[in-house]
């Protein structure tokens, strides 16, 4: 493990060990080549993100108002399709592809927004309870996370969304409030381990304040693994958002959600199955891309923390 050095050298030169890695185009390229599943995931995610973000410039038709004379058209590979509508139209003749682009836009906003909310809550609660560990405050916060985990998410969401009007903002809050508990436990146990480490002891011995310990020492070590968790959490949030809309307790029209596009197709399922299937596949691919990225990132993070 340790390189042998001879006594004759008084100054240890930097050539004896590998130089620190610099981020270059070449190193990025190599990372992408060596982690092909990450690259596939990244390509899918980038594709979905661009569809959503540039929806205004991409959509070929009006996503909100349809042409009833061209309703219930099939996607391009089937009979009864109209080349104008690549993925067909819904029951009042709105273009499915255009609606999916806007649905993706909403998914992206809500996915990242709610993860920002839940990670912030998880960080604050995890760090506070981990630092104050054997204390009343810690016990209270841990019981609070227990409560969140014991509550069936769907019920909690319905209850909250019947109090507040379901808008993009409120759905972000609901999803954020319903999914911080697991993450905050992970953070707490990591904080508790770090708190006992010698590098924190070294800081405290030199007079570092609690705030500085939390900010400069503990958070710094926590951040990479949190970043690695983001794709998986966003994937989760996207599925939950579409679920709420599908069950008609989430976003209300005219806001388009992938879940409500699916829900619209439900009544025509036996004859026009693609209306439900297509938005489902879009969610599946988006989530698959995020999961592929997240898996690789998490594996890399644990590798680093084991070595460090």
């Amino acid at each position: 493990m340790e390189s042998k050095e001879t006594n004759t050298k008084t100054l240890e030169s930097t050539n004896s060990v590998a130089r620190p890695k610099k981020v270059t185009f070449r190193s990025i390229g190599r990372f992408l080549w060596e982690n092909k599943s990450f690259t596939i995931g990244l390509l899918i995610v980038l594709f979905m993100l661009s569809l959503g973000i540039f929806a205004d410039y991409i959509v070929p038709h009006d996503a909100y108002n349809g042409n009833p004379r061209e309703k219930l058209l099939s996607p391009f590979w089937m009979k009864d399709s109209n080349p104008k509508y690549v993925l067909g139209t819904d029951y009042i003749g709105r273009d499915t592809f255009s609606r999916i682009c806007y649905g993706l836009q909403v998914s992206i906003i809500i996915g990242f927004g709610s993860v920002a909310v839940s990670l912030t809550i998880a960080l604050v609660i995890g760090i506070i309870s981990g630092l104050s560990h054997p204390s009343l405050l810690d016990s209270i916060l841990m019981r609070l996370t227990d409560v969140q985990m014991a509550f069936p998410f769907i019920v909690l969401a319905i209850i909250i969304l019947s109090v507040v009007e379901p808008t993009i903002g409120s759905v972000i809050l609901v999803l954020g409030l319903c999914s911080w508990a697991v993450r905050s436990r992970v953070i707490r146990s990591s904080v508790m381990i770090q708190k006992e480490s010698d590098y924190v002891a070294a800081g405290i011995a030199l007079g570092a304040s609690k705030f500085r310990i939390a900010w400069k020492y503990i958070l710094r070590n926590l951040l990479p693994s949190l970043v690695a968790a983001i794709p998986l959490d966003v994937a989760n949030a996207i599925v939950l958002e579409s679920l709420l809309s599908y069950m008609q307790i989430g976003l209300k029209p005219p806001i388009i959600s992938l879940g409500s596009i699916m829900g619209d197709g439900r009544n025509y399922m036996a004859s026009h199955w693609w209306m439900t299937a297509i938005p489902g596949f879009v969610i599946l691919f988006f989530v698959l891309g995020l999961n592929l990225m997240g898996d690789t990132l998490q594996k890399k993070m644990t590798d680093v923390s084991v070595k460090g």
Binding site: N7, A18, D198
Partner: protein, 329 residues
């Protein structure tokens, strides 16, 4: 050797043992139980003891990571044991710490430069320009190329990491350096290098140091005085030469025999030593008499009943053992 740098008076650290649902206190662990010593300017004192004898806890108390149960700690004459963290910072008398686990004591995601600058920042040195110069100087002082500053700890070898940890202890210009087994994790050739570094520092920097180790062989060349610690107490204290040539306490003799490199020149017969089978007693329930009586081959009846007093057998050589009285009479 004149000015007293670190003086400890009857320092105790006891831990309550709590049990059951209501966390009732059912006993006390006497981890550090009445330790006194005095380290003078430029002096290196070695504290020797087995693992679990309380030496690490003693260091944590000295650093202020834990509050002592009783006793006083004087750093350059100022009693720091009663000061709060903030007041402690204001005294500007600093303790440099060298941890046993070198990689664990450095933040895995900070570069060497950030680690060293953080130490400076925490002691109030916040001038970026002078920080840069100080990092260069201290790295040279411990024998590392200043180009190492941009590395992460993980990118260094074990010996290099140990030098960085020493650099961090030195960069704040401490009144005294506390070293917790600084070489025990290194292999022999690296041990020699690091010990050489310490000797250079003693010579050039007038370094005062408390050097904790579990083995007498390591400290032979660098310690001026040696304290032998067992179960939270000091059993023998003597100048370095005295320990190696004229150890009095049976426990010290056992430690000497245990170090092959020292034991070579010693006539084993004359020491009458050996160790009874058995573990160290539970620090929650220490023996009533001499602490070492449960493992001492020469234990007499008296040793089980009465705890021996600390006696000065020759100038600067103190022993806690009933055998001394036997020898005199």
């Amino acid at each position: 050797m004149s000015e007293s740098i670190l003086r400890v008076e009857d320092l105790k650290k006891h831990y309550p043992i709590k049990k059951g649902f209501f966390n009732r206190q059912v006993g006390t662990k006497y981890v550090v139980d009445g330790i006194s010593f005095d380290i003078k300017s430029g002096e290196t004192v070695a504290l020797i003891g087995e693992s679990g004898c309380g030496k690490t806890v003693l260091l944590r108390v000295l650093l202020g990571l834990e509050k002592q149960t009783s006793g006083k700690i004087f750093l350059k004459g100022i009693d720091i044991s009663t000061l709060s963290k903030r007041e402690r910072k204001k005294t500007y008398q600093k303790l440099g710490m060298i941890f046993q686990d070198t990689s664990g004591s450095m933040h895995p995601r900070m570069t060497i430069e950030q680690i060293l600058e953080e130490a400076l920042y925490l002691v109030g040195d916040r001038d970026r320009k002078s920080q840069y110069q100080k990092v260069t100087d201290v790295l040279l002082k411990v024998g590392l190329d200043p180009a190492f500053r941009n590395r992460l700890p993980i990118q260094l070898s074990g010996g290099q990491r140990q030098r960085v940890v020493i650099a961090r202890a030195l960069i704040i210009n401490p009144a005294i350096v506390l070293a917790d087994e600084p070489v025990s994790a290194l292999d022999v050739s690296l041990q020699a290098q690091v010990l050489n570094l310490f000797m250079d520092l003693q010579e050039n920097e007038n370094l005062s140091m408390l050097f904790v180790a579990h083995d007498l062989a390591v400290v032979r060349q660098i310690a001026h005085r040696i304290l032998i610690m067992y179960m939270g107490h000091i059993l023998e204290e003597a100048p370095s030469n005295e320990i190696y040539s004229n150890a009095k306490h049976p426990y010290t003799k056992v430690l000497l025999i245990a170090s092959p490199s020292i034991a070579k020149g010693i006539n084993e017969e004359s020491f009458h030593v050996g160790l009874k089978v058995g573990d160290t007693p539970d620090p929650a329930n220490p023996p009533q008499g001499c602490l070492f009586c449960t493992r001492c081959m020469q234990a007499m009846e008296r040793c089980y009943k009465e705890r021996p007093e600390r006696k000065e057998v020759s100038p600067g050589h103190f022993v806690c053992c009933h055998l001394i009285d036997e020898e005199e009479s």
